[in-house]
Point group: C2
Chain length 349, copies 2
């Protein structure tokens, strides 16, 4: 099968042997797989993140539930935002059958333990024509839901989780810094929860437009209007939660600087480099910083439900489609936010 | 009156005119005033903190409740942990009378607004023989409570507030980094709430001993045993809250590095310099960082109540007494944690 392969922090397209489903697993055809900013980050900063992971693990007790991660000097096929169709059922499966369309938490398991789908040497992710899934994690996509929208379950779940961790309630307001996929997912979830006003800041006019379509009340170019000024103009009084969804050095400090007294800052953007803050900014206003990662299984299935039931229309989010051979170019294109938000890999296209 | 005076970030002892109480104010004799680490910080890093304060205020709407702070090129008498005896009652007072022993939130107010007692050019703090208090903020110290212990109301309130903001509950456990006054106040409050185990880390044997006396279950020298290792040995399973009470660059990162998944970090130590963190440490484990400052009025009066009712015995905390002329030497002595925890200024001594 064709697959976009990462090795030694380089991306190439190659022919790999078709994978085979083991016990409790199904072989699927990838219908659509979103390209995630984390994968761009991984190519650029993966070596650094890996060192940090090793450091973090040092001295800590072994966690049997920890996911096995890839070795950088072996092939890894990334892609963890997939919607697939079952084409072959492995031994011992009872729930899924050929033809079922599914999404899944990006995790596979076997006798060795848990593997991070998209960051594993053993199990390939969705930047490929085929992939193996554990039957147990597969969630059937209701009939009539386009695979392209179902593939947005995973990134939407990131927003669902961030908003849940923020403990934001009606009557509180939100600023979202950055209208990339993570920021947009937060906006969509905030809107579904009826929270407002929502102020979104992004340099890109295209992304500001997407944020408005997904439910932002006010969008600003921070070079012209600081988000906090826009918020003060339309609110200024309610409890504020700031979602930092840019993920580059300096953004946490920027969020702290704008935050009014007692504000909560959700760090949703994954900054893999070292960062600098002024603790006194936090102390003086008793700020709270909550770092978040991923989602719970119920948040994932809830995200699919929201898409399937039309509670949120994420179609503006989809800005491009490539086949597997187009993945490296798509990675390059995503650097330009004026053109793209979410590019889907559709192997059949 | 004799007073320890700060001007241009230098400390001297001088004779100042006796202050006069205005309407709603009382003149008091300082019985005891604790020397606070914040004042040592202020002398060393005040200029930097001041710049940051101005930066923080920039663009924000004017807050009529904001406290007026001192100008560094005019005289300031610090000292905000005081217990005083009323010696003269100003016009319009109805509650306090001569001879009353009181503690007070370190704030004075007049027609101009709020003034931070101990950080004001207008109202001197407790490193002096006399001070003016607003009658409204004065809380009578119950008979029989030594002024030396009542003067610990303010630093204990800092711990009461930090523990309240941590939302820690029974069944959760705590690590306290640093057994200076702020760390010790956290330990005392955690113990009063029946929370444990409490692990305390400090380089100083003297301070570790104090922490144990105030209620720590385990004390460690972090050069020999990392706090997190000690915690794993006696607990390792409960939800952990880490109180960072050292307040120097690198400590937040150190707390993040040791924190298990989902831990909460309370930043109680006031680091006035820029600091560095690895956001991925927070993201990978979904850490929460709560910055805290000061206390609420009810936390302050609750701290006095705890001391008066003997719910906590803070006497081990008191390691020295000086008169006003001894303040500069006491500031120097406090740099050595092996000798001192809390030095009281007792003008009559």
């Amino acid at each position: 099968m064709r697959a976009a392969v990462m090795r030694d922090w380089q991306l190439r397209v190659d022919d790999l042997p078709d994978p085979t489903p083991g016990p409790g697993q199904v072989l699927t055809k990838v219908l659509a797989c979103g390209i995630c900013g984390s994968d761009l980050h991984m190519l650029q900063h993966g070596a650094e993140a890996r060192r940090l992971n090793e450091e973090m693990a040092e001295g800590a007790p072994a966690d049997p539930m920890a996911m096995k991660m890839f070795e950088p000097d072996a092939d890894t096929v990334m892609g963890h935002e997939f919607c697939c169709e079952v084409v072959e059922v492995g031994p011992g499966c009872s729930n899924l059958k050929v033809g079922d369309v599914v999404v899944s938490l990006p995790v596979a398991f076997d006798a060795e333990g848990l593997h991070a789908l998209g960051y594993s040497n053993r199990y390939n992710g969705g930047y490929a024509e085929l992939m193996v899934l554990s039957e147990m994690t597969g969630i059937k996509v209701p009939a009539g839901v386009p695979a392209e929208l179902a593939a947005l379950t995973e990134p939407l779940a990131v927003g669902v989780h961030a908003v849940a961790k923020s403990r934001i309630v009606k009557g509180e307001s939100a600023i979202v810094l950055g209208a990339g996929p993570v920021g947009l997912a937060c906006v969509a979830e905030l809107r579904m929860r009826g929270i407002g006003p929502i102020v979104v800041a992004d340099f890109s006019a295209k992304r500001r437009e997407l944020a408005a379509q997904l439910g932002a009340d006010v969008v600003v170019d921070p070079r012209e209007t600081p988000a906090i000024e826009a918020w003060r103009k339309i609110d200024g009084g309610s409890q504020l939660v700031i979602f930092e969804a840019v993920g580059v050095p300096g953004m946490i400090q920027q969020a702290m600087r704008m935050a009014p007294r007692g504000a909560r800052i959700l760090v949703v953007g994954a900054c893999m480099q070292e960062d600098r803050i002024q603790p006194m900014l936090g102390i003086g206003r008793e700020l709270n910083i909550q770092f978040v990662l991923g989602y719970e299984p119920l948040e994932f299935s809830g995200a699919l439900e929201a898409i399937a039931e039309g509670k949120t229309d994420l179609s503006p989010w989809l800005t491009g489609t490539v086949n597997v051979d187009g993945v490296p170019q798509a990675f390059a294109d995503l650097a330009n936010p004026e053109t793209h938000a979410k590019i889907l890999v559709v192997p059949g296209s």
